[in-house]
Amino acid sequence: MNAVVARDLTRRFGSFTAVDHVCFSIPQGSVYGFLGPNGSGKTTTIRMLTGILEPTAGSAVILGLDIAGDRDAVKSRLGYMSQRFSLYDDLTVSENLEFYAGMFSLPRSVARGRIEEVVGMAGLSGRTRDLAGSLSGGIRQRLALGCAILHRPELLFLDEPTSGVDPVSRRRFWDIIYELAAGGTTIMVTTHFMDEAEHCDAIGFMFDGRLIASGTPRELKELLPGSSWELLSDHPMDLLEKLERRPGIVDASVHGRALHLQVESGWEDEVASMGANRIVPSLEDVFVHLVRKHRKERNS
């Protein structure tokens, strides 16, 4: 069964179309990575799926119920950690959790157990008496997640949970996401760090309000033309200028000190002779390719 089914979901603000006929579904218990730059429509889509914002057109079925008609019935089964999730800086970690337990009307006896559970899962033990305002970005986000899952939602929306989070905490946060999914929670998570989403069950790419591709990471990588190669260099920018217009090279982009090349069949030996290695392409490669293609189509 699908936890989320979006059909032609559309939202206009005045003459601006923020979300344009977006269709996708998320099977129950899976992790859906929703990728795209700022302003591409990710947050607006989530706000419609959570029933906070009404679509201009289209519909969303959430946990089997139409969000437009049955919002109240669905609400208690959803969790939503927004980009600016409100934590009370002058309350401690425990007090924030207790506050949210009250908001979800959890009976005291239940709340105590849940809070303990969430503290363990989010790695907050030892920090429960700290003021929320004194927490680092990574711990703060884990507390926000803890607050958002106290009522054990079946479906969880996480909007850029890892922005403002250091490289260690970022990875830890994703461990928790997969742990929740393993326990049966369906999760839709947005990020603009492509590398984070490599282990999602499925991915949707948003660009200019449109879902320009969706599928499993593997399916998306198959959209790339030719084969993928990597060439390491101390001067990747200079190398890019030399190589990007070479015959046989369909696409070239810089990834740190590496140059990634999409190579037409028949040109592999030549690329290999330059010292390039075959690689498994990354989602970033896929998105670079899709955005370029999309722009070319739009401009022609």
Partner: protein
């Protein structure tokens, strides 16, 4: 040195945002300051640009102890750059040219040159509000260049921008640098840090490293094994194997080890026992992100 900072500290109330940060930026460099949101990057940029005064420490920018006195040679592109949405691209350029005190004839000529350089000339008549996120950032950059600065300070010019625009902005930075402009840029993206002549890693207000990306990687005291396997998390499967850390890097995992030969043998055995099929397993040179993850972990 165009920037010399010694033991800069800054607090907002009782929250210490910068803790004794020292760094120097040489003429002709692209200096990259990398770290997550909240690490203190923006505060440091504001101090370097003369918007905030450090509580402690010494600072010299373009030879002056007060950055606001060298504004004529200093270009700054803050994160929330104020473009006028109801003015066109060209009107914004004209306005910022005038604000920086350029003569009208000069504004026309320089504006045309900069809009050509940033590929915005074709959009001269478009309202700034109607530009994509990436184009807005380019326009902010263009405005920051109107007075021909010799030092350009940019705060996260690529955050939230699509992966293609992100690369276009870096190309512009490289071109500017070739024309003799020294660049100080902040970013949350590790791959961008690899494109800098020198990189500083800011973590919770402390500068944990500051050197060329190559030197930072070379100083990494351990070995890295890259594993590609059909699993979301390898950590539980590698209990008892002499592996210091297991970190997800896109679709692969990086294992931090002391003895790569022995670790490799045991990793193969453990994954085989767990029935996980290994697609590839090899030692790789540590990346900047490997080094930074390790540094972030060592801070209590």
């Amino acid at each position: 040195m165009l920037i010399e900072a010694e033991s800069l500290s800054f607090s907002f109330g009782n929250r210490r945002v910068l803790r004794e940060v020292s760094l120097g930026v040489r003429e002709g460099e692209i200096f990259g300051l990398v770290g997550p949101d909240g690490a203190g990057k923006t505060t440091l940029v504001r101090i370097l640009a003369g918007v905030l005064r450090p509580e402690q420490g010494r600072l010299s920018v373009l030879g002056s102890g007060a950055p606001e006195k060298v504004r004529g040679r200093l270009g700054t592109v803050p994160q929330a750059f104020t473009l006028y949405g109801d003015l066109t691209v060209w009107e914004n350029i004209r306005l910022f040219g005038a604000l920086y005190g350029a003569a009208p004839g000069e504004v026309e000529e320089r504006g045309r040159e900069i809009l050509t350089f940033t590929n915005l000339l074709a959009f001269s008549d478009r309202l700034a509000d109607a530009l994509s996120g990436g184009m807005k950032r380019k326009l902010a950059l263009a405005a920051g260049l109107m007075h021909s600065p010799s030092l350009l300070i940019l705060d996260e010019p690529t955050t939230g921008v699509d992966p293609v625009s992100r690369r276009e902005i870096w190309r512009l930075l490289y071109d500017l640098n070739r024309r003799g402009i020294t660049i100080f840029v902040t970013t949350p993206y590790m791959d961008e840090a690899e494109l800098c002549t020198r990189t500083g890693f800011l973590h919770e207000g402390r500068l944990l490293a500051c050197d060329s990306p190559k030197a930072i990687c070379r100083a990494f005291p351990r070995h890295v094994l890259e594993v590609r396997a059909q699993a979301r998390n390898l950590r539980p499967l590698l209990a008892g194997v002499p592996v210091r850390e297991v970190n997800a890097f896109g679709s692969a995992f990086h294992l931090v080890v002391d003895d790569p030969v022995e670790a490799r043998r045991q990793v193969e055995q453990a994954l085989d026992r767990a029935g996980v099929s290994v697609l590839s397993l090899r030692e790789i040179p540590p990346s900047l992100e490997d080094a930074f993850v390790e540094m972030a972990r060592e801070v209590p």
